[in-house]
Symmetry: C2
Subunit: 288 residues, 2 copies
């Protein structure tokens, strides 16, 4: 995982294309802590200005060609994408360059089909341009959910069984490129995530309990989150963070169980503090 | 399916325990049309007063023992449960009799675990009391979704492929006693049903499209509904009706694909008229 050892020649930098939020910097700092120099490429208007504390450049959304050029000029052979992506509020913020335009037909094609299809296709486009796409799990494994508990609260036996059942269901859905999350109470799946996303799914559980459609007393159930089997973690690793924890608390769950090593934790310190305060667990479970 | 042939001795009556709505009467009428006499047992305060046009009796919610007695007194050996069930608005409406009370420990036990577990357990309790539990598909097969289209609108090739994909995903979920419905657009599952129920799931799709989280132009996608593999259709056949059609229209879907023979259609005439008016299809698909 660590490309440089003390005393050896510095590894070539890792190019990190930064979307919004504080997470790109956390990943950059972790990579540097692991001995890997970085070169950040910020999406202007989206990435945090604080990325400027590392070697960096700015590009606008749509400058696919410039992104590749900046990474290569910095000497990078590896590139990593991280941070919240969103559609530009104003289409004038979009600055498609030749590198994007000449790939548009293939990109448009990729937008048909599931997420996996889209992302593996984009990753292929980048690799054809001579850069290797890397994932957070490769350059900053300390950011992924570890095995065991993250906070102070232990999962009870009942919750561990609920988690195991949830992982089984997610595995069964694997071939179909569906959701990455669900909520289990006893041996019953009460909510499954699809296009609405994790937060909306957890909000639904809170609502079903509030309106009496789901009658459960006290904290019950587990939010189970995993990568899809065969999912490309380089472009689309599942993630959880403080917002996930807040929604799980509001849904009245006992805790969150994620696959260890494949789910990223955003703002870990905050996430764990929130979970500890509410008395819910955060655990990482290994496969099998 | 039909227990009596013209000229033969009349079959013993089918006892039909009636919950709310017009569906119990539709089932009773269909059974009678098939040559089977009926004896209706209405849940008072819940079942439609119009059930009185058939031989009938009334019981209160909780009168499990009286239900069995009434059915046997009418000479029934078969019993069928149909119609909307709901918790009583006032607990004073509940009149637990000895027949219920002596089974309470086992009933309470059944409430742990998934729906299938609960229903197969209840069905066993009834069969131990000497009555066979029947399903609508057995006594009134004309009420189930037939093979092919129900209304005027044909499904297009793209929609048939979406339906096939949806059925595959539902089959994969079968062993886990999860949902019976999902929405597919292209090869992507955009919503999966769990505790929220069909209507809420379809409402979610409408909302995701309205708020721009799902960007789809025009009518797109199919609501796919099936029984769970191994599901006991006698107590818990999936159903669709006018309300389902209204939600599917609001969600901007192209149509509804159900498993032929295992999904019931409530108020078929209304459901089909709504679908025809909106230009969406209703089809029944055979397995395989």
């Amino acid at each position: 995982m660590v490309d440089a050892v003390p005393g050896s020649a510095p590894a070539e930098p890792l190019a990190i294309v930064c979307g919004g939020g504080g997470f790109p910097l956390a990943v950059a700092d972790a990579a540097v802590a692991n001995g890997r120099p970085v070169f950040l490429i910020g999406l202007s208007g989206i990435a945090d200005g604080a990325i400027a504390r590392h070697p960096h450049a700015w590009i606008r959304l749509g400058q696919f060609g410039r992104m590749l050029t900046r990474a290569r000029e910095a000497g990078a052979r590896d590139i990593l994408f991280v941070g919240a992506a969103r559609r530009p509020a104003d289409w004038r913020d979009l600055a498609p360059d030749l590198g994007l335009v000449k790939r548009l037909p293939r990109i448009a094609q990729l937008f048909r089909g599931g997420d996996d299809h889209l992302l593996s296709g984009l990753s292929k486009l980048i690799e054809e341009a001579g850069l290797r796409v890397r994932g957070v799990h490769e350059v900053a494994p300390q950011i992924m959910v570890p095995r065991g508990r993250l906070g102070r609260v232990e999962a009870e036996q009942q919750n561990l069984e609920e988690a195991r059942f949830g992982f089984e269901v997610l595995d069964a859905l694997g071939p179909y490129d569906v959701g990455q999350g669900l909520v289990v109470v006893d041996r019953r799946v009460i909510a499954m995530e699809a296009a609405e996303g994790t937060d909306a799914m957890l909000a639904r559980v809170a609502e079903l309990r509030a309106n009496g459609r789901l009658r459960l007393r006290g904290r019950r159930g587990v939010f189970v989150k995993a990568e899809k089997p065969g999912q490309d973690l380089r472009l689309d690793a599942p993630a959880l963070g403080p917002s996930t924890v807040r929604y799980a608390i509001a849904a009245g769950l006992c805790g969150i169980a994620s696959r260890a090593g494949t789910v990223m934790v955003i703002e870990r310190e905050n996430a764990v503090a929130l979970a500890d305060d509410a008395g819910i667990f955060l655990i990482g479970c290994e496969r099998g």
